[in-house]
Structures are given as C-alpha cells and as structure tokens.
C-alpha cells in the first residue's frame, strides 16, 4: 500500500523555514529550561519518521549538528529510518555509546533503566554532559513531580508520562552529582518542558 506520509523519504520532513523554526523552538526550550516545570508550546515544524515525534525531532533539528553525537534508544533504532533522518537533516553523527552523546533521544522512557550511563561532564567542565530528550505522551497527566530550585518560585509540579523506572531515585542521584549531571528535556505532544540538573525533586510525604 503506497500511502504517502510526510516522511516517506528521509530527505523530507525537515524545517521548511530553518531560521525562523529553529529560533522559535529554541526560545520555547530556553524558557522551559529557565523555568523548570513550565510547559511551552512547540510548533509542528518537522515531520519525521515514526516513532520519532514532531516535538523531539524539532528539538534535535534545532540543537544537533556535526559537533554533537546523538544517541538513540532501541525503540528508535529498529530500522535505519530515524538514524538516517537525523543524519540527513542535522549532520550529527549517531553514536552507540551513551557516554559519548551530546544529545540522547529516548522514545521509550519507561525502558530506560539508568540515567548515569550518559555523560555527566567533569567537575571542571560540567557542560560536557548529555542532554537527554525524553519523548513523553503527556506533561500534565502523569504522576505529579514536585520540583524546586533555580527558575522556580517556591515550588511547582510537572506530571510527565511515561518516565524512566525508579525516576525519583535516579534523579536524586543525578542531583547529588551537581554541578555534573544530565539535563532532561521532556518532549510532549506539541509542547516541551525541562528539568535541568539544578532542579530538586521533592518527595511527597505519604
């Protein structure tokens, strides 16, 4: 059956307006990173092959290039389509090693067993770390996370799903490594939120 999707070819589905689209996507992400927990609208500016989502692909197309190795989770590497799409549209090399990745894209967060395999940077260069993009189906209807830290007035909540296993424990370990650590970018449908390494997760009293 020859139904034509926007991403019938890996050469399609990139930014139609690279300058404007990447600026719009970046500003949404910058605001999300500066105010952890807040949800910002992302325009549908890319049409990648499934299961890579429009949001995650817009973010990777905005951020990645030849200088930034990208790691893809197993859900994204079942075929070569997504790897090829990213290479064609960004020029970024795909790496098989989490610890080498500047960016990671995770289509199945619930299957991600550990955050500490990614690069946490060094004590002297904590910026040399992996930014992990999690594809989530919601940012508001999952289990509520209570957050505090820089960018947050008092406290805020975010409810993304699905999330990695034992996320609270993993995030607290990430936070312990500060200033080293990964930064999380949560790519929801038409939206983005972020949890930089500076964000503290508050355990709810039972």
């Amino acid at each position: 059956m020859a139904h034509s999707t926007p991403a019938a070819s890996i050469y399609e589905g990139g930014f139609a307006d690279p300058v404007g689209a990447s600026q719009t996507v970046f500003r949404a992400l910058m605001d999300a990173m500066a105010r952890p927990g807040t949800v910002h609208a992302l325009p549908a500016v890319t049409a990648p092959p499934a299961p890579l989502t429009a949001s995650a692909s817009a973010l990777i197309a905005t951020l990645a290039d030849a200088d930034t190795p990208v790691w893809l989770d197993p859900a994204l590497t079942k075929t070569n389509a997504i790897k090829d799409w990213i290479v064609f549209h960004t020029g970024a090399p795909i790496t098989a090693y989490q610890s080498e990745a500047a960016f990671a894209v995770v289509a199945a967060p619930q299957s991600l067993s550990a955050l500490n395999g990614f690069s946490l940077g060094t004590q002297e260069f904590p910026d040399r770390s992996t930014s992990v993009i999690l594809q989530v189906t919601t940012l508001t209807e999952g289990v509520a996370l209570t957050l505090e830290g820089p960018g947050i007035k008092d406290r805020t909540t975010l409810a993304p799903a699905p999330m990695p296993q034992h996320f609270s424990e993993q995030w607290m370990a990430n936070r312990q490594a500060f200033p080293r650590g990964i930064d999380l970018i949560l790519a929801g449908p038409g939206s983005v939120a972020a949890m930089p390494r500076s964000t503290r997760l508050i355990r709810k009293e039972a």
């Binding site: 910058m30 930034t68 910026d127 390494r197």
Partner: protein
Amino acid sequence: MTAPMTETNTQNLASYNFAYLDEQTKRMIRRAILKGIAIPGYQVPFASREMPMPYGWGTGGVQVTAAIIGRDDVLKVIDQGADDTTNAVSIRAFFAKTAGVATTTATPDATIIQTRHRIPETPLHAGQVLVYQVPIPEPLRFLEPRETETRKMHALEEYGLMHVKLYEDIARNGRIATTYAYPVKVEGRYVMDPSPTPKFDNPKMHQSEALQLFGAGREKRIYAVPPHTNVVSLDFEDHPFEIQHFTEPCALCGAEQVYLDEVVLDDKGGRMFVCSDTHHCESRRAEGHRGALLGDEPVVEKEAAI
C-alpha cells in the same frame, strides 16, 4: 566614534543572515546558553565569532542576543543606564537592520534588554531576558591569571582566597572598596562576576523575575542566572554587604534609592546628580515628578487639576 557596522554589511542588505550570525554559530551559542542556565553561575566556554564591531562594543552580549532574538522580540539596549549613547544606538541599529526587530527605550515594553553595566531601575518581569556585555567573566582572574587554575578553583569550590582578598580590602579601606564587578555567589555554588555593574545593582540580580544571560566575547564565555535564583553578594559577618547610598535625590526627577551619575554643569564646580537610568528618569518626569533643578510647579498644577 565611527559606527561599528562596516560598509559591506550596510550595502549587502539581502546577503547577511537573520541577526547576522550563521545558523551553525547560533546553534553552538544556543547550546552554551542552555548549559549555562542548567548550571547557574558556571562559565560555559564557547567559540566566539568575529563581529562587525570591536570587542569593547560588547561582542559577547551581541552574540548572545543574536542567538536568542526572534522576529517578534522588542529590543532595548542600554549603556551605563542610557539608551542614547553611541554604543547603545549602534547595537539597536544593528539588530533593527539584521533582524528587523522593533526597538524601544521603555523597560517594561522590551522582551530582550542588552546592557553594558547597569540593571534597569524598573523591576523586570517574567518573560524578559537581560543580556549583559561582559569584558572579564572570571571573578578569580585578579588572584590567579591561569585559566586552568581558576577552573580548578571553581571545580573544587576553593573560594577562600577570594574572601581573604575582600577582607584585606576592608582592612585597608575600612570598607569593601570594590564598587564595580562586586563578586556574587549563585545558588550557593559558583562565585560569579556580575560584569562591571555598580554593586548598587547586585541586589536586583537576586530572585529576579527575568532570565539573565552573560556574554563575554573576547574571553569566550557564556553564563546565566535563571529567574528566581539566589544571588548573594560576598560579605562578612562583621562587614555585611552594603550598596552605595546617595545623599541627594535625582536633580531632574527627584528619585531616591536609584543609581545616580554626577554631571558637571559648568567650569565653576557646579554639578548635579541625575538618574543613570535615562528611561526611568524620563518616565518619572512624564508622570509629573520634579527634581530640585526643575522646580515643583508641574506637580502643583497636576494636583490642582484633580
């Protein structure tokens, strides 16, 4: 002074990139900005580009602004609080031309404010970005010229020498004499240079509603303070941090608790103190406030009219 834009750029209107920088450079700067936000106060190295203006003109701030600005932004540029200096006017013109953005002098109307050494008196609001032009980003540089060593000091939180130096300053002067670039600690971790703003402005950085981004072009560093972040000026129990106090209000608008510049009026020693923030001063005068030099008649008129 000559305008910083070169002939070539003004002639080839269609040939330069949106906001001047190419997309690859913007991407690299954007990545650095995101890391800076994630690690408040930490200096992220970046590959600073040549800009069509000399380093002293704030090429770091210009590159940060160029990487974040969009067509819908409204840009304000200030130089020591003033919107109308050659430097501020040139940078505004640069972005009006290369990005086609609207510009303003009104602090509340701006979405991006690029600054050389002042923070506006009008409190900033959520959604605004303050971009600082930074000449020397390293607060420990005067103690240690080697970058490898200062980086190690930040990594290990070895800030003892910094405190000793400040304390010596007190011993010698009776008070902390550092009035510009007074070091701060961000969110209890990194000691940061707030760029050569007067220390009067340091408290405005603490728990600001706006995102603060710092760009050092020559030194190739970007750093950031997110909104609602603790920014504490270094001090001592027996010598707490204090901002400068001015003994008289602004001679033009009567404002108190603002940063004032001394203006020489004549060659007989006549002088006055006026707001360094020109927009703040103008809007106060527009509201009817009158300083000693302007008399107070309009205020009376206004009251009579009610």
